[in-house]
Every structure is written in C-alpha cells, then in structure tokens.
C-alpha cells in the first residue's frame, strides 16, 4: 500500500498509527498511518460511519487521538496548547458537515469571524468577505441571517469561512452534499484555486463526481481502517 506523498517532499500532515476510540464498542479509527504533503490535494472517501469526519477532527486538533501520533508541519499536535494551538488552528480552514454557523448572524459576519480572530484589518476583512461571497454566488446573501438560508447556501458560507483567512491547510467535510451540479463545480474550482495557491486541501466525501476524474491521491476508509490509498486516474 503506497501512502507516501508524491507531490512534494515536505510533509504537512503526518499520522502514525493514529486511533480514536470513543467507548469500548465505538472504535472510530484504527491505526491510521498516512503522510500528506504540503500543497497536496487529498481525498478521503468511504461510506457513512467510515471515520472520515473523525479523521478531519483529529487533523484539526478538535479531538485528540486515543493512541498514535499526529504531526502538523512537523509539530506533534497533542503537545500544542494555548497560544501555539490557536495559531495552528488559524492556519487550518475547516468546513464541517454540520456547518457550525452562527445562525443568528449574517453570512458576512460568519465569514469574517475567521479573520477577526487573527486581527485582520476591518477594511481588508470587508473586501475579502465580499470577494468570497461573490465567488460562491452569495453576493445577495451578504446581509442575510444564515439561519434563513437554504442548506446549500449555508454550506457555501461555511466553505467561504474555511478559506477566508487564506489557511495553509483546508479540511472540508462533504463539501457538495447539498449542492447542485453547477454549484458543486464552482465549489471545487474554488478549492482547486486555493490548492494551486499552495494550500494543502483534504476533502472527505462520498460523492464520486468530485474525485472520479481527479489525478490526486484518494484514501478509502472502511470501518475506521484504511482500505486503500491510490492515485486517481484523471488528468
């Protein structure tokens, strides 16, 4: 099984025998070992309950592995605390399946939040928010409360928030789950643009339309274990 990154020699994400056990009967991940290169686009696929979301949570350090080692940019994340951990999270853009939007705030406020925590200038935040919402066809939703938006629109706001702070790593969970074909294409283009700009992009999905023609590496999970890691046959 080839789990070596091929795009670059510099490793962004290193997982060595990482496992996550929630309780005796719930083993979410089992001995995951994978290296993802800096600037690589990487797909994690598998059925529901395969462990894709848990894997993203471990990488974003929102959860700690029960056993094993996870390093981000060479730093073991379980050793990071306080300011250093916060700085790391600022460099990671995450779009979870459950969105984690503030439903009583506008789309613009939700996107801005990731830049506010790193004290970006207000005029720069306003410009970036406007640009991103335009790229995702959400210009008219700028001042709309996210609780009033459709699932698809909420998903795009989540994605905009994940990439707003120009992170070096983007983790996306089921980015096209609620989108039509045209919007899916726009979202994927945006993610590819971020990847071309140098960001490492990890996409967890079960939607084969987005990885069917990819030339990037694809890791398949099954019941918390790696089933296969292969390179896509796209161009």
């Amino acid at each position: 099984m080839n789990t070596n990154p091929t795009q670059s020699s510099e490793i962004m994400i290193e997982m060595i025998k990482a496992s996550k056990v929630y309780s005796k009967d719930v083993k979410a991940l089992n001995d995951i070992s994978i290296s993802i290169a800096n600037g690589e686009m990487f797909f994690i696929i598998g059925m529901s309950g395969a462990g894709k979301t848990t894997l993203l949570k471990l990488i974003s350090s929102m959860e700690q592995p029960t056993t094993g080692l996870i390093e981000i940019g060479g730093a073991p994340i379980h050793q990071l605390k306080g300011y250093k951990l916060a700085r790391l999270r600022q460099k990671i853009g995450v779009a979870y399946q459950d969105f984690k939007l503030l439903t009583d705030r506008t789309a613009a406020e939700n996107v801005a939040i990731s830049m506010e925590v790193s004290y970006k200038k207000p005029q720069m935040i306003r410009k970036r928010v406007k640009d991103l919402l335009a790229q995702l066809d959400l210009t008219d939703k700028h001042n709309k409360i996210t609780g009033d938006l459709s699932r698809g629109e909420q998903q795009r706001v989540t994605l905009a928030r994940a990439i707003a702070n120009s992170p070096t790593m983007i983790l996306v969970d089921e980015p096209t789950g609620n989108l039509d074909a045209a919007t899916t294409e726009k979202v994927m283009k945006l993610l590819m643009k971020c990847n071309k700009a140098g960001a490492t992009v990890v996409i967890a999905t079960h939607d084969d339309t987005i990885f069917r023609h990819t030339s990037h590496r694809i890791m398949e999970l099954q019941k918390g274990s790696i089933l296969s890691v292969s390179r896509g046959n796209g161009t």
Partner: protein, 295 residues
C-alpha cells in the same frame, strides 16, 4: 483589527444578547453595595458618636457623709487601687447645691424653699480612656459601690448599655450585609456569566475551531464582570451619597437626628468599597470561566 477592539466589540455583543440578566445583576450589585455601605456608614458614625460620649463619661459616687481630708485621701487611695483615673473631684453638699442651681438656670428659684444641704456629697470620677470599655466601667462601678460610706454610683449605665448593644447589633447587621454583598456580587455575576457562556456555546466552539486564543475568548467575560463591578458599586455609592444629602437636607435643624453629627465616608473608604466590589465581581466571572469555559 486590534485585540482590544475585538474584545470590546465582543463585550458589547454579550451585553446586548443578555441585557435582561445583565441589568438584573447590575441592580443586585448596586443594591448590595448600597445596603452594605449604608450600614457601614451608620456604624462608623455611631462609633464616632460613641467616642464622643466616652469623652464625657464620668462616674458619680454619692456618699452618706461629707468626707473629711483623711477620708478623702482614703477614698482616693481605694479608687486608684482599682485602676488609675484621669480625675477625682470631691463635691460637697454646698457645691452640689450650687451646681444644681446653675443647671436649673432661670428656674433656680424653686430651690429657695429647700435647705442648702439637701443634696448628698459625692465624688466625680473620670476614668482613663482605657477604662471606657463598657464592661470595665461596670466592674469599676460595682467596685466603687462596695466602698464603705457609698450610697450609690451613677454613670447613666442604662443608656450607655443600650448604646453599646445598639453598636453591637449594627456590627452584626454590617457583617450580614457584607456577607450579602460578597454572596450577591460573586454568585450573581458568576450566574450571569454562566448564562452568557451557555448562550454562546456554539460561538465559543466555533471560535476555538477558527483559532481564537484563550485571551480572545476569556477576556470579554472577565471584562463583563469588571464592568458589573465598576458600574454596580459606583451606582451604589452614588445612591448612598444622594440619600445622605437628602437626609441631611430634610432632617437638619433641631431634633433627634441633630444630636448626631453624621458625616459621609472619606474618599478613600468609598474607593475601597468600589475596589473590593470590582474585585469580587471579577472573581465571580473568573470562577465561572474556570468551571464552564473549557478551552
């Protein structure tokens, strides 16, 4: 965007979101400070008044017979055996008659038909300051009453005793209101901050996710407690000052209250009460953060 700008914006947002409970907390803190400061003010004024009373304290020892020079020396010796005193004055029947006449002023003619020796001779004993504790004065009085030839000893004990118990009661009320101040400031602020934290659970989780530092998340809550302390205690002290001025204005002139010379706290006491309240509110907010804000 600076750290403090975002922190103050967050504080403003928190206050807007939970303004109802914030207002209730502010009122509670204000009332607690007002109640405590009121009793403390009354207590300190009563102590001052008590001090002034103490300055005038004297024991009058009424004698059966006018003491001769030798007996006077014996009485002086016996009195000073108990403790040193500030002054001992022997008052003869004639002196007592004269004094009484002076006290009667324009009505002294009522004494015209009375013999000049109808009042008993006495000894006026002014105890030392150190002896002016009520219990010691009681013992001293009992000691003097047992001396041979003494009819009775008078020092207005009933009145002084009542005043002593009144100041004791005030000190207990002050302690209770102080406890109320501590409880309400710490617990009410802690409760409000807890409500804010629960209200903002989703946002706090998101802030962690996008890389907000601990200070970014915690400082607004700490500032909320601080703000409650500053506003609540300042309002409490200001209300007491206004109340004090109102009482002074409306109850000045002859009357019961005029017997007391009420004065407001010196600035340093007001600042100390405000400072302690701020500290307690911040402590309340800090303790809640430690318990409920796991970052």
């Amino acid at each position: 965007m600076s750290f403090w700008f975002t922190v103050f914006r967050q504080v403003g947002r928190n206050l807007r979101q939970t303004w109802g409970s914030q207002l209730m907390t502010l009122l509670t803190v204000t009332l607690s400070v007002l109640i405590f400061a009121f009793f403390y003010l009354v207590y300190t004024n009563m102590l001052k008044w008590g001090d002034r009373l103490g300055d005038d304290l004297s024991l009058i020892v009424y004698l059966e017979e006018e003491p001769g020079p030798e007996l006077q020396q014996q009485y002086i010796k016996k009195i000073t055996t108990f403790d040193e005193v500030e002054k001992i004055t022997f008052i003869s029947r004639a002196d007592a008659y004269q004094r009484f006449g002076k006290q009667l002023g324009q009505n002294q003619d009522v004494l015209d038909d009375l013999p000049g020796d109808f009042l008993p001779p006495s000894i006026e004993v002014i105890p030392l300051k150190s002896l002016r504790n009520l219990n010691q004065v009681k013992f001293f009085s009992a000691y003097l009453a047992k001396l041979p030839g003494v009819l009775k000893v008078q020092y207005g004990h009933e009145w002084i005793e009542k005043f002593y118990y009144f100041t004791k009661l005030l000190s207990i009320v002050m302690l209770l209101s102080g406890t109320l101040l501590i409880m309400t400031t710490i617990f009410m602020v802690a409760y409000t901050i807890r409500l804010t934290i629960l209200n903002r659970q989703a946002e706090l989780e998101l802030l962690k996710l996008v890389g907000a530092t601990n200070n970014y998340i915690r400082v607004p809550f700490l500032l909320e407690g601080l703000l409650q302390g500053i506003l609540g205690s300042t309002l409490g002290i200001a209300s007491l000052y206004l109340l004090f001025q109102w009482i002074k204005l409306h109850f000045s002139g002859p009357g019961f209250l005029n017997m007391f010379q009420f004065s407001f706290f010196p600035p340093v006491i007001s600042i100390t009460i405000i400072g302690v309240s701020i500290l307690l509110c911040t402590l309340g907010s800090f303790s809640t953060m430690q318990k409920f804000l796991r970052i």
